[in-house]
C-alpha cells in the first residue's frame, strides 16, 4: 500500500468520523401545539425559519398530494422551496387545482387545470409562502402547501404533537402556520439532544 493510498484511507476514515459525529450531534425538536379558539390542533405546520447564510438544495424526490373523496390528502403539506409537488386525482370525477395567491401575492396565482382519475400534474414551488389549494369544480375542497426555507419542518397530529428530526445544533427560530390561527414564533436552541417546545396558537 502506497503512502498515497494510506493517506486516502485515513482521510476517508476522518471524514466518515466527522459525518458520524455530525449525525450524533443532530437533534430533534419535539413538542405539542395547544390551540385557543380553534377547533383542532391538527394540521398546523411547525418549521424552522430561514437560517441566515444557509441555503438548502431542493430534494429531487417529488411530493404527492392526492385528491381523494373530494378532499386534498394531506390537507396541509410543508415543502422546502424548490420542491415539486405532484397532484394526483384518485376520484372518479374530474378535479381542478388552483391557488389564487401565495401568501396573498396574487401574482403567484396559478391554475393547473382539470384532469381525470389516475392522472397527476406536478408543480415546482419555488416561492416561499402558503398556497391555498382550491378546486373550482368542488369549491368546498381545501388544502395548503406551505413552502419554507429549510428542510426542518413537521405537521401536527390530532393531538397537536410534532417532531422535527435531524436538526443540526444551533439557535433557530421556530414558526407555525395554521389555517385559522395566528402565526407563532419562538426561538429554540438545539444542542444535539431532543429539545421539547410547547407552543400555543390562538385564533
Amino acid at each position: 500500500m502506497s503512502n498515497v493510498q494510506r493517506a486516502a484511507i485515513a482521510g476517508a476514515i476522518y471524514l466518515a468520523a466527522l459525518f458520524l459525529a455530525g449525525m450524533a450531534w443532530a437533534g430533534d425538536i419535539k413538542g405539542k401545539v395547544a390551540v385557543q379558539g380553534i377547533r383542532s390542533a391538527e394540521n398546523i405546520a411547525v418549521y424552522v425559519d430561514a437560517i441566515p447564510g444557509k441555503k438548502f438544495d431542493a430534494p429531487a424526490a417529488h411530493i404527492t398530494i392526492d385528491q381523494r373523496k373530494m378532499t386534498f390528502v394531506p390537507r396541509v403539506e410543508v415543502v422546502l422551496a424548490g420542491t415539486t409537488v405532484d397532484f394526483l386525482n384518485s376520484d372518479p370525477v374530474g378535479h381542478n387545482v388552483y391557488w389564487p395567491s401565495v401568501s396573498g401575492n396574487k401574482k403567484l396565482a396559478h391554475n393547473l387545470g382539470t384532469w381525470p382519475k389516475g392522472e397527476k400534474k406536478g408543480f415546482q414551488f419555488n416561492d416561499q409562502g402558503v398556497a391555498s389549494l382550491l378546486c373550482n369544480v368542488h369549491p368546498e375542497m381545501s388544502g395548503y402547501v406551505v413552502v419554507v426555507a429549510t428542510p426542518y419542518f413537521a405537521v401536527t397530529d390530532k393531538e397537536g404533537n410534532f417532531d422535527i428530526k435531524n436538526v443540526p445544533p444551533g439557535q433557530y427560530t421556530l414558526k407555525t402556520w395554521s389555517e385559522d390561527g395566528k402565526p407563532v414564533s419562538q426561538s429554540v436552541n438545539v444542542t444535539g439532544e431532543s429539545v421539547t417546545v410547547d407552543l400555543t396558537v390562538k385564533k
Binding site: Q36, G37, I38, R39, Y98, P100, S101, G104, S132, L133, L134, N136, P139, E140, M141, S142, Y144, E179, D180, K203
Partner: protein
C-alpha cells in the same frame, strides 16, 4: 280590590292548579331541551334562557353575535357546518363565490303553546264570553334560525296553526342579518349591523318572545278616532262628517322593512334605525315609509371591574346575569294615508295624517330579581273635511288628535331556578277610547300577578291572573271588570 266571590274563585283555582303542577312535576317524562341551538351546541336551553323565551346575558350575547357563541364559537359547535366553499375561496373572490356555510343539521325547532282561560262573568249585553275556554290560543310554531358563516344570520318563525287545519299560516319574524358589517369600514366591533325582511321592531322589551301570557297593553294600543261622528269637533253636519284616524300600525306586531343597528362597547350601548312599511306584517297600503329609532345604554353595576368585561358574572351556584341597569329611549314617526282613490270622501284628495310614538324604558337586574318598565306616548293627527257640506269641501282641517299615553312595569323573581314569580301593571290613558265607551275612566289599567314553572328546561307551565279596569255594561249605567286567569302550557323540541 278583589271581591269575595272573585277571591274564592282565585283560591279554589290556585289549589287546583297547584295540584296539577305537582302531578305534572311528579309524572312528566324526562325530556331533553333540544331546539335548534341546543342541538347544534349540545347544550341546555338554560344556557341562554333563565326563563324561556327571555334571554339571559349569555343569550343576548349569543344573539348579538349572530346566533354564535360570543367567544371561540368554533370550539363549541358539536354539529359541524357544511362548508359552501373552502375558507380560502375568499382569496379567489370575486373570481369565485364568496364562501359560506350551512348548519350541519336542519336548524328547526317547534314550539307549542296552549292557554286555558277562565273568564269572570261578562254581562250578556256586551256579548257572550264563555266562562272557560280550553286552549285558546292554541299555536304550533316552526322556528328556524342560525348562521350562514361568521357574519350572516337568519331567523324565521311561522305559526302554522294560525288558520287551523289547512289554513293560511302567519309568519312572525323572517329576516336575514348581516352582523358586524362595520368592520369593512373599520368601525368598532358590532357597531353596525343590518337586517331586512319582516321583524319585530327593536322594542325595549320583546312582545313576540315575551314570557308573559298576554301582550303589553301599550304595545297593542290602536289609534282609532271617535266612532261617534257627533263628537268630532268642527263637524257641523254629523251625519256626513267623520273623524278620520284609523291607523293600522301596532307597536307589538312585526313590520316589514330594513333595519340598521349596532351594539358596540361590549353590547352596553345599542342603537337601531329601521325603515318600515308601517302596515304590520301586511303589504304596504301607502307610498310613504315610517322610521323607528332606538338607543339604550347599559350600566354594569358589578363591583369587580374585571367581571364587567365577561359575558356573564360568576355566582356561587354558576354564572348569572350582571347586576346592571339599562335605560333607553325610542321613537317612531310615520304618515298614515287614507281616502286613497276617494274611498272615504270621493271628491277629496288623499288624507295624510302624521303620527308619532316616543317613550323611554329601563331594566334593572339584581341577582334573582329583575324589574323593567316602559313609558310611551302616542299622537295621531286627526282631520275632517273643511266644510260641512262634503260635496263642496276642498280639503281637510285638523281636529282633536287621537292621543294616548301609558306603559307597564313588571317584576320577576326566581324563587328557584324553576319557579319564577311575576307581577305586572299595565296602564293606558286614552281619552278617545274612553269617549268610545271602552272604559269607565280615561285610564285602563290591569294588574297581572303570575307564577311560571319550568317543568323541564324546555317545558313550562305559566299562570297569570288579570284584574282589569272597569268597562260600561252596554245599555246600562253599570260597570264590570273582565277579570280572568290564564294557564299556559308551552314546550319546545
Amino acid at each position: 280590590m278583589i271581591n269575595r266571590r272573585g277571591l274564592s274563585i282565585f283560591l279554589s283555582s290556585a289549589i287546583l292548579v297547584s295540584g296539577f303542577l305537582l302531578w305534572v312535576l311528579a309524572s312528566a317524562p324526562r325530556a331533553k331541551a333540544i331546539p335548534a341551538f341546543s342541538r347544534k351546541y349540545q347544550t341546555s336551553c338554560t344556557t341562554c334562557h333563565s326563563n324561556f323565551p327571555e334571554l339571559n346575558d349569555f343569550g343576548l350575547a349569543f344573539k348579538k353575535a349572530g346566533f354564535k357563541f360570543p367567544k371561540d364559537d368554533d370550539t363549541f359547535v358539536k354539529d359541524l357546518p357544511v362548508l359552501l366553499g373552502a375558507k380560502a375561496q375568499k382569496e379567489a373572490f370575486p373570481g369565485a363565490l364568496y364562501p359560506g356555510e350551512l348548519p350541519g343539521n336542519l336548524p328547526i325547532a317547534f314550539r307549542y303553546s296552549g292557554f286555558f282561560n277562565y273568564n269572570s262573568k261578562i254581562p250578556l249585553a256586551n256579548g257572550f264570553v264563555p266562562r272557560t275556554d280550553l286552549f285558546v290560543p292554541n299555536t304550533f310554531t316552526i322556528i328556524a334560525a342560525g348562521s350562514f358563516g361568521p357574519n350572516i344570520s337568519f331567523w324565521v318563525d311561522d305559526d302554522i296553526s294560525a288558520g287551523g287545519a289547512n289554513g293560511a299560516a302567519f309568519m312572525g319574524d323572517g329576516y336575514l342579518k348581516g352582523n358586524d358589517i362595520g368592520r369593512w369600514l373599520h368601525l368598532p366591533k358590532d357597531a353596525l349591523n343590518v337586517r331586512f325582511g319582516q321583524f319585530e321592531l327593536d322594542l325595549p322589551f320583546t312582545q313576540a318572545r315575551t314570557i308573559n301570557l298576554t301582550g303589553y297593553d301599550i304595545f297593542n294600543q290602536a289609534s282609532v278616532s271617535l266612532v261617534n261622528p257627533a263628537l268630532c269637533a268642527v263637524a257641523a253636519d254629523p251625519a256626513n262628517t267623520q273623524c278620520t284616524t284609523n291607523n293600522p300600525f301596532f307597536f307589538g306586531v312585526p313590520q316589514r322593512g330594513i333595519e340598521f343597528g349596532g351594539y358596540p362597547n361590549d353590547g352596553n350601548f345599542t342603537w337601531s334605525l329601521a325603515i318600515v312599511n308601517g302596515n304590520n306584517s301586511n303589504t304596504a297600503t301607502r307610498n310613504s315609509k315610517d322610521i323607528y329609532g332606538r338607543i339604550s345604554q347599559t350600566f354594569n353595576l358589578e363591583r369587580d371591574s374585571s367581571v364587567r368585561k365577561e359575558v356573564q358574572a360568576a355566582g356561587p351556584t354558576g354564572p348569572r346575569d350582571h347586576t346592571s341597569i339599562r335605560i333607553g329611549a325610542f321613537g317612531y314617526y310615520g304618515r298614515n294615508a287614507l281616502n286613497i282613490g276617494g274611498s272615504l270622501f270621493p271628491t277629496l284628495p288623499t288624507i295624510r295624517e302624521p303620527f308619532y310614538r316616543f317613550g323611554g324604558d329601563f331594566r334593572f337586574k339584581y341577582r334573582k330579581f329583575e324589574l323593567w318598565g316602559v313609558g310611551m306616548y302616542g299622537h295621531d293627527t286627526n282631520v275632517i273635511p273643511n266644510t260641512t257640506d262634503i260635496l263642496t269641501a276642498t280639503g281637510f282641517v285638523p281636529t282633536t288628535p287621537v292621543t294616548f299615553a301609558g306603559g307597564f312595569i313588571e317584576g320577576e323573581y326566581w324563587f328557584y331556578p324553576w319557579l319564577i314569580g311575576l307581577v305586572r301593571y299595565d296602564g293606558v290613558n286614552s281619552p278617545t277610547d274612553f269617549a268610545n265607551g271602552a272604559s269607565r275612566y280615561d285610564t285602563r289599567n290591569r294588574f297581572s300577578p303570575g307564577v311560571q314553572v319550568l317543568v323541564r328546561a324546555n317545558i313550562k307551565l305559566a299562570f297569570e291572573y288579570q284584574r282589569r279596569f272597569e268597562q260600561p255594561v252596554a245599555g246600562s249605567t253599570q260597570f264590570f271588570r273582565a277579570n280572568g286567569f290564564v294557564l299556559g302550557t308551552d314546550f319546545l323540541f
